[in-house]
Amino acid sequence: MSTQDNREKDPNQVETTGHVWDGNLQEYNNPLPRWWLWGFYATIVFAVVYWLIYPAWPIGDSFTKGFNTITFEQGGEERTMHWNTRALLAKDMQTGTYAVRQREMLEQVAAQDYETILADAESMSFVNAYAQGSFGTWCAACHQVGGAGVVGQYPNLRNDHWKWGGTVEQIEETLHQGRLGYMPGYRDTLSGEQLNQVAAYVLSLNDYSVDQDAADAGARIFTGSDGGCFQCHGMDAQGLTSQGAPNLTNDLWGLIDVRGAESDSERQRLVANFIRDGAQREMPGFADRLSDAEIKMLTAYVHSLGGGQ
């Protein structure tokens, strides 16, 4: 079949580029579709309009700023400047629909006292929505998304066991200034046997089966000058929130995995080791990172997680 035959058989009679490869391959030379060509011209017009409206061309050590402007408030005065994303953000934070709604609700709820907030369903629904975000950003890294903490590391906020107190005032203070928890290690003060005795006593307070003689000896150390544990935890081991000393009688364990222990002896060993090593824990303060209103939302949220007093 010759090239000439092919051309004659072409039903469209379209012009080709004139090249012929392999004896019969040719390339159509179609014009661009009209709609496409006009689309192309339209993008050029769009670009020119865009250059006039928005910051665009570099000129020397500056650039064309465009005719579009943004007005926002700065230091109580209105300020107008050329359009740019930072000014747009400033305006959005001040007058954007959602920013305004959120700020209004925040101010409205923050103006109420805790008793009102906790009792009012609408306030609490805002608190939950708002504080869940803050909690996720600032608190969840340690206390976990749901507030259940990490055994041995970070306190559970969903039970009613509070080292530093579970009233709204105490929670707010914790959030504001942070807390520094400290229990000295007793490795130099108590012998291995004494450590075991104190551990037995503490476990006996929570109805775990322990050797009664050891527990009795432990009680004497706990409430006597040998251990002096009572100074922070109290003679009845109910804890002292002003010291961040936990209640040791409610079978709620934050720093020792007592419930996860596989045997009685394992459990006692964990507690004894803890007393031997002591603990130091820091909760950072948020007063310089969050506004008072935000701390109030978080306080109400944490209080409502299930353990608030």
């Binding site: 910051p55 500056s62 700065q74 400047m81 000014a87 747009l88 969840a140 890294a141 990490v150 950072p284």
Partner: protein
């Protein structure tokens, strides 16, 4: 020039193609080097100390940037979550910058001071022990690998060549004292780099293990300084907008 002569001459086609696609780069990137407003006027931004710089090297070595950006964009949702948007000035001493474009994990531009050293160490060793739903891999060897800082002075010289104001002479040191204050200027003196690195690691003990200077010390030192150099309470909303 006829179109056909371009299409049928491969060498010419390559040269002209390169010329055309370079226009995009030339127009968008080159002017940033001579436009006055590119780097904002702001106090507080300083080069990294030797220890922080080694931490940054480890950040790059481990490929943290493949999942973490360091660029808070100027949007309301990002402000609410991460804090103030990033400034060009804040990465002026970064070579190369770590802005990134992939957020498999959260942005880290303002992570400094957000968590305790203890948390950072535990999280780097075993992320899931603190964030069960995390897909971040653990980096436990950082805590046990001693930090190699034998070449810290040469690393700083290299950075000096690309514009970071570390000092090698008394004159440069004096200039740094005026610009960053004496305490910082001392840290930027290449001649004392090794001593400064050791001193900072021992004084601040980032990894909770005072005995050895580990890669964990360096990385946590770097993470804890990210985004903390500028005190944004000193500036109005509009201040940084002026530069754009």
């Amino acid at each position: 020039m006829k179109h056909e002569s371009v299409e049928t001459n491969a060498g010419l086609l390559i040269i002209l193609t390169l010329a055309v696609i370079s226009v995009g780069g030339l127009v968008e990137i080159v002017p940033l080097f001579y436009i006055d407003d590119t780097i904002e006027e702001v106090d507080g931004v300083r080069p990294y100390t030797p220890l922080e710089q080694r931490g940054r090297d480890i950040y790059v070595r481990e490929g943290c940037y493949t999942c973490h950006s360091q660029m808070v964009r100027p949007f309301r949702d990002e402000m609410l979550r991460y804090g103030h948007y990033s400034l060009a000035a804040e990465s002026q001493y970064d070579h190369p910058f770590q802005w990134g474009s992939k957020r498999t994990g959260p942005d880290l531009a303002r992570v400094g001071g957000k968590y305790s050293n203890e948390w950072q160490v535990q999280h780097l060793i075993d992320p899931q022990s603190l964030v069960p739903e995390s897909i971040m891999p653990g980096y436990p060897w950082l805590a046990t690998t001693p930090l190699d800082y034998s070449d810290i002075d040469r690393r700083m010289v290299a950075l000096k060549r690309v514009g970071v104001p570390y000092s090698l002479t008394d004159e440069e040191y004096q200039a740094n004292v005026e610009k960053f204050g004496e305490e910082h200027a001392r840290m930027f003196d290449i001649r004392d780099a090794e001593d400064n690195l050791v001193a900072q690691a021992q004084a601040e003990n980032f990894d909770g293990n005072p005995g050895t200077i580990t890669e964990m010390d360096a990385l946590v030192a770097y993470l804890q300084v990210l985004g903390t150099m500028v005190d944004f309470s000193e500036y109005d909303d509009g201040h940084f907008a002026e530069f754009r």
